[in-house]
């Protein structure tokens, strides 16, 4: 373990050192290049300092300081040299990026090792690592789109997307309301409830169960998204048709999972109810539904990501001039790609938050299930 840390940190530091000594191969502009090199130097220096910090013996504050140095330098890297074409995109530039990547990775390794060994508490520190990872991705994305001159109409830099997020907040909010509040939520609630109720109904009749389950299983494997144009045809262009798509997409996973969940109670648990001569409803409420909880939440979580995709896709087939799917498709047509990505970011955040809230509720409700009390999901 420690050995691997060393290798990573050494590689990263070497990479940074190399960045200083690599000569610029391409000098796009003779005058700008030396200036660009000059600007790069302190940044590479920061990376180096961070690397050396990681190489030295482990204490708690050192890696943190190193991390701050690393991020500081990385943030400056694409930003500060924006004007100097010679420095950006040159070998030294990529060298420092590689150094940055290796060193943040090393940081994550060390931090998780510290948590595992109990040197750092799980709560709080646990979220630093994924956040670091996300930030690293963003920085690499920014640096690569700029360094490799990726056309902004293909893939805008995160900074451009961020600007757009801030500037277009009212539009994004209106779209969010139209798609998420008006289409996704009602569709999700109706679809999940319907799936639950039908599952309970079906469960009472072995005949229905035998007939519906294979069909339900089959349906939940289908590209239901394909019915989006049909739903627009049937339910009109406003949110109703989107909600209908969401209902159709969420219904079957819920049906199948709930039916499976209702059978999850072990036979000994059921026998217990039988020895009490408990009625059907008593058994359902006190045993089978609680036992089905993890399955139901599983469906709720699956459905949370399906629902958003369904609503957005349905908007491609006709909508009022508002909505996330609408904005995305017209945005591409207008080459407002940063707005499109801002919209995607909103969708991803909304989706993750939706999922996260469900996961939290799940923790609360099915606290007793081994997968919950057994630690990490």
């Amino acid at each position: 373990m420690i050995f691997r840390h060393r290798i990573l940190a050494t590689l990263g530091t070497l990479s940074a050192l190399l960045a200083i000594v690599t000569p610029e191969v391409v000098l796009a502009d003779g005058a700008a290049a030396p200036a660009g090199r000059l600007l790069l130097l302190p940044i590479i220096g920061l990376v180096l300092a961070g690397g050396i910090g990681l190489l030295t013996r482990w204490t708690l504050w050192q890696p943190l300081v190193s991390l701050v140095l690393l991020f500081g330098s990385a943030l400056m890297l694409p930003g500060a040299v924006a004007g100097f074409a010679g420095a950006i995109g040159g070998p030294a530039y990529w060298q420092s990026l590689i150094a940055f990547w290796l060193l943040t990775w090393n940081f994550a390794e060390r931090l998780s090792a510290a948590i595992r060994d109990g040197r750092l508490p799980e709560t709080g520190t646990g979220v630093i690592i994924p956040i670091t990872f996300g930030l690293t991705l963003l920085i690499l994305w920014e640096a690569i789109t700029r360094g490799a001159n990726v056309p902004p109409v293909l893939l805008p830099a995160p900074s451009a997307i961020g600007t757009q997020l801030a500037n277009s907040a009212p539009i994004l909010w209106a779209d969010f309301v139209q798609t998420f509040i008006k289409s996704v939520i009602p569709g999700y609630v109706i679809g999940c409830l319907a799936g639950l109720v039908v599952a309970i109904a079906v469960d009472r009749s072995p005949f229905l169960k035998a007939g519906l389950l294979p069909i339900g299983n089959f349906m939940s494997a289908l590209p239901i998204i394909g019915i989006a144009p049909i739903m627009v045809m049937w339910f009109g262009f406003d949110w109703q048709s989107k909600a209908a798509v969401v209902v159709a997409m969420t219904f079957f996973p819920m049906l199948v999972n709930t039916v499976a969940g209702l059978n999850a109670a072990s036979s000994i648990e059921r026998d217990l109810m039988r020895t009490y001569a408990a009625s059907y409803w008593q058994t359902l409420l006190k045993l089978r539904l609680p036992a089905a909880g993890p399955f139901i939440f599983n469906a709720l979580k699956i459905n949370s990501t399906l629902a958003l995709i369904g609503a957005i896709v349905a908007e491609f087939f006709g909508t009022p001039v508002v909505g996330m799917g609408f904005r995305i498709s017209t945005g591409v047509g207008r080459l407002a790609i940063d707005l499109v990505w801002a919209e995607i970011a909103v969708a991803a955040v909304a989706g993750s938050a939706f999922y996260g809230v469900l996961a939290l509720i799940e923790r609360g409700v099915t606290f007793w299930h081994p997968s919950v009390r057994g630690g990490r999901a």
Binding site: P151, P152, V153, L154, P229, V232, M233, G236, F237, E315, F316, F317, G318, T319, P320, V321, F326, S329, T330, V332, G333, R334, L335, A336, I337
Partner: protein
């Protein structure tokens, strides 16, 4: 041979008969051009494709091209075979819309994805609000079909003379039960299917030469298509990889497209160009009068 890639604005159909026929008939080969034709689709923005380097030449509408130029994709019009617009708005008579003055309070179907500019320019000119307020109109992003009219979801819908209008005719609609607003006849037409390239490529004489040969072959293709509609329609059907195109419909389309295309003249019509620019400026879709958004080097060389 010079390899060129042409990105169409829409799926393979007779709207692009000239290019498809020219390729099938070997007109590009004659000009020593090795042409790849990429069909478009509802989510493919040709401007994005060319900016990313996925195509050399694209077919697009002038308004979308200028808007793209404004966002930093330096597109230049090199030829404009389509002289008139095929865009119309049709309203079933029972909706009691007879003139533009009847629009307020109604729902209108509009195509987006870069096709919305002519509509908004028109409404702008008429002073009708498009924000859904009672004194304005409600805009609906229309699917690329006539279902919203059949389903009664929109009071008026957008159609192309050469495509959806035909579908409306098939469905039993016609001039006697429709109010028709034809953009060209109203003088509101903006330039449609033109040929665009990236500005920097025009610095290279070899490229310009290749473009010239490409346009010459294409115009020959258009001429051939207009002269031989049946054969052209068949070629379109055969070129369609999706198998969706039907001969009957494509034949209708060739007939209608022939009313919009001038096969003898690829040059840009400056009156329509100016109208297009003005409309975009009025709506603030572009911020400044475009410079160098078209070039005549190719069409001049054709003469």
């Amino acid at each position: 041979a010079d390899a060129l890639t042409l990105q169409l604005k829409w799926v393979t159909q007779a709207q692009f008969a000239g290019y498809l026929v020219a390729k099938e008939k070997g007109f590009y080969d004659e000009e020593d051009i090795d042409l790849t034709i990429l069909p478009g689709g509802p989510n493919i923005a040709p401007e994005q494709v060319i900016a990313g380097g996925g195509a050399d030449i694209i077919v697009t509408w002038m308004a979308a091209g200028l808007a793209a130029r404004d966002t930093g994709v330096p597109l230049v019009n090199i030829a404009q075979p389509f002289k008139r617009s095929g865009l119309m708005m049709i309203c079933p008579k029972e909706n009691n819309i007879n003139t533009v003055a009847d629009f307020p309070g109604h729902t209108l179907g509009v195509w987006f994805f870069g096709n919305e500019y002519p509509f908004f320019a028109w409404m702008n000119k008429e002073g009708i609000k498009t924000d859904g307020s009672p004194e304005g109109v409600t805009v609906l992003q229309q699917s690329f079909d006539i279902q919203p009219m059949i389903q009664g979801q929109a009071d008026c819908i957008s159609v192309m003379t050469y495509n959806e209008y035909g579908q409306a005719l098939d469905a039993g609609y016609g001039p006697d039960n429709l109010t028709i607003f034809n953009y060209t006849e109203m003088g509101n037409d903006l330039l449609e299917d033109g040929l665009y390239v990236m500005e920097d490529t025009l610095d290279d004489p070899a490229k310009v030469d290749a473009y010239t040969r490409f346009v010459r072959a294409s115009m020959k293709g258009w001429q051939y298509a207009l002269d031989n509609p049946e054969e052209a329609a068949q070629i379109v059907v055969d070129s369609d990889e999706t198998g969706a195109a039907t001969l009957e419909h494509q034949l209708y389309m060739v007939g209608e497209v022939s009313k919009l295309v001038d096969a003898n003249d690829a040059a840009l019509d400056m009156t329509t160009y100016d109208r297009t620019v003005k409309a975009l400026l009025d709506q603030q879709i572009i911020k400044a009068e475009p410079e160098g958004a078209y070039t005549t080097v190719v069409t001049d060389a054709l003469k």
